[in-house]
Amino acid sequence: MKNRITELFQHAKKPVLSVFYTAGFPNLNDTGTIATALEAAGADLIEIGIPFSDPVADGPTIQASNKQALDNGMTVELLLKQVAAIRNQVTLPIILMGYVNPVMQYGFERFFTDAANAGVDGLILPDLPLDEYETYRELTTALNLSISFLISPTTSEARIRKIDASSSGFIYAVSASSTTGAKAEFSAEQSEYFAKLKALELKNPFLIGFGVSNYKTYTQVCAHAAGAIVGSSFVKMLSQTKDFDADIKTFITSLTTPK
């Protein structure tokens, strides 16, 4: 069987929209409801965050969602059960994204295996060192899991090429040297950076995330990348909504279409 993420990029006729949210937030069992609503609303990729007590790469919005999810009782084990249920209802590729410690405690091999069995297609583990990942590469390849690493504007070209070689599925390009958080628009300097990335002609497609929050920022990144990742502004909306289906639909539509 082909990896759903690879398939998605091979056949994409428009920019790919990947949506991030924290598992178990706002309520413990919302993880699946949100996934179903995202598929109905036209998202292309579902990125589910594994909550962690000390999310150092995240700004206030996602920090708060992590804390609430943990207070709600979310665990890696429960999340994998929820994903298995989601897999029966949605066909979109599913990615789990999380800090390395909860995965290490679950056990790397066990986590990769159980995630693949639950129907996960890809992983993003931002603080997992490249050389440590190399020791698991054989296993993740056998399990047909894609692994996306991050790059930032301060990542050297030599290192980008190394990360490209280690990644599969896509590369996660962070828009700025920053923690996660919504921005109203990107600067000319950032657009230049996006263009430069495109010119590198990497093996993997790249998605741009961190700061994407509206039609303006969405089009700015899609001009250069294979698509966009939206996180903080989506999570913020989730913390306020009373109607997932309607508000998720409105959110995705307003992000991807001009007013």
Partner: protein
């Protein structure tokens, strides 16, 4: 040497650099240059001269005769409490600020628990004319108020960390986030032997002056450089790393690390990492960590803000795992009593962190022939309010 960091940044099974890519260039810049910069003669001259003329080194090794009598052993106190700013923390900040200058950085950030590292950082920033931001947990700002004002007087901006338990771990999270957002002009002065490689090794190097001096001073005092015991408290582990450093390969020297047991190791309110922790990743390194089975970090507790941290440096995890260092712990109550005891027997009011090291004296089976060095990491001025609130004196 088996207790030295390897080229990948590991001490045995612990260490490494588990950082998001946004931090990689900052950390890599440091990693690729720190050894070479520190080895430069000009660096060494500036570092040693500031330690001498500004910090007041060498700090005395004081033979505490009344305390010795009480515990029936020859007890020496390494007087880091007499360092400028009142604790060993400044040995490290002097080293790192010179390094930061050589890396061309203009701004400094730091985290602080007890406020000693924050004060030591604010001090060297004033000395070098560099901008300084210190993150401090909101709870710690309340319990270490004098240090907050000292930092402000020195010109530093103190920012309250309001996430989590609002203590040292959360201040460290905020400092790392700040560094992610300011990758080029800012150097992060970590205050202990924690964080991603090369921090644990670099901070240990700067603190190693402590054991370098102890060796010389003991040679003079008793005709040989090695004691039977070296005792130090362990928060992140920087004063202990400095006090142990030159003794790691002297197998006949018993090294004792003392952690904070808080209200008791099994009370659920403790910071005794070696007793309660399992290998995990926090703040960029793999080390022993107090955490749930699901890998969430447990909020530690200690009466002492400087020991209130859920992990220890990777070097100490390795020293624990290999058995090279014996780890003990002391409760709030034991530490406070040991602090008062030192005040009454020797006329020295210790920092509550250091009082934990003193509390280990009664837990060791000492004999009259034993030579014991206790690293008195800091003075108690900052802790007066805690002593007063505890009240039993």
């Amino acid at each position: 040497m088996k207790y030295q960091v390897d080229e990948r940044g590991y001490y045995g099974n612990f260490g490494g650099a588990y950082i998001p890519e946004m931090l990689y260039p900052n950390v890599e810049e440091l990693r690729s240059q720190y050894l070479q910069i520190i080895a430069q003669p000009e660096f060494q001259t500036e570092f040693n001269e500031l330690l001498r003329a500004y910090v007041g080194r060498p700090t005395p090794l004081y033979h505490a005769t009344r305390l010795s009598e009480k515990y029936n052993a020859a007890i020496y106190l390494k007087r880091e409490d007499l360092c400028h700013t009142g604790a060993h923390k400044i040995n490290n900040t002097i080293g790192q600020i010179i390094l930061a200058k050589r890396l061309g950085k203009q701004k400094i950030i730091a985290e602080t628990g007890a406020g000693q590292h924050g004060v030591a950082t604010a001090t060297v920033c004033a000395l070098m004319g560099m901008e300084c931001i210190v993150y401090m947990g909101k709870l710690d700002m309340e319990r270490q108020r004098p240090n907050v004002e000292r930092m402000r007087i020195l010109g530093a901006q103190v920012i309250a960390a309001v996430s989590g338990n609002m203590t040292l771990k959360d201040a460290t999270n905020e400092a790392m986030r700040h560094w992610i957002n300011h990758p080029t002009d800012t150097h992060y002065i970590i205050g202990s032997v924690v964080g991603p490689h090369p921090y644990p090794h670099m901070v240990a190097l700067f603190q190693s002056v402590i054991s370098e001096e102890i060796k010389k001073q003991l040679q003079q005092a008793i005709g040989q450089p090695n004691p039977d015991y070296v005792i130090a408290c362990v928060g992140g582990g920087s004063n202990a790393a400095g006090a142990f450093y030159h003794y790691l390969n002297e197998v006949h020297v018993n090294l004792v690390g003392v952690e904070a047991a808080g209200k008791g190791v099994d009370s659920g309110e403790s910071a005794a990492t070696t007793a309660l922790g399992k290998p995990g990743v926090l703040h960029g390194s793999k080390t022993l960590l107090m955490q749930t089975t699901d890998g969430q970090v447990i909020e530690p507790y200690s009466i002492s803000a400087g020991l209130d941290y859920p992990g220890i440096g990777p070097l100490h995890s390795h020293l624990f795992e290999t058995g090279r260092v014996q780890f003990l712990n002391a409760t709030d109550e034991e530490a406070m009593q040991a602090g008062i005891e030192l005040a009454r027997t020797e006329g020295i009011i210790p920092a509550i962190e250091s009082a934990h090291a003193l509390a280990a004296l009664s837990k060791l089976e000492l004999t009259a022939e034993d030579v014991v060095v206790v690293n008195l990491s800091g003075r108690g001025d900052k802790d007066l309010e805690t002593y007063i609130r505890w009240g039993k004196y």
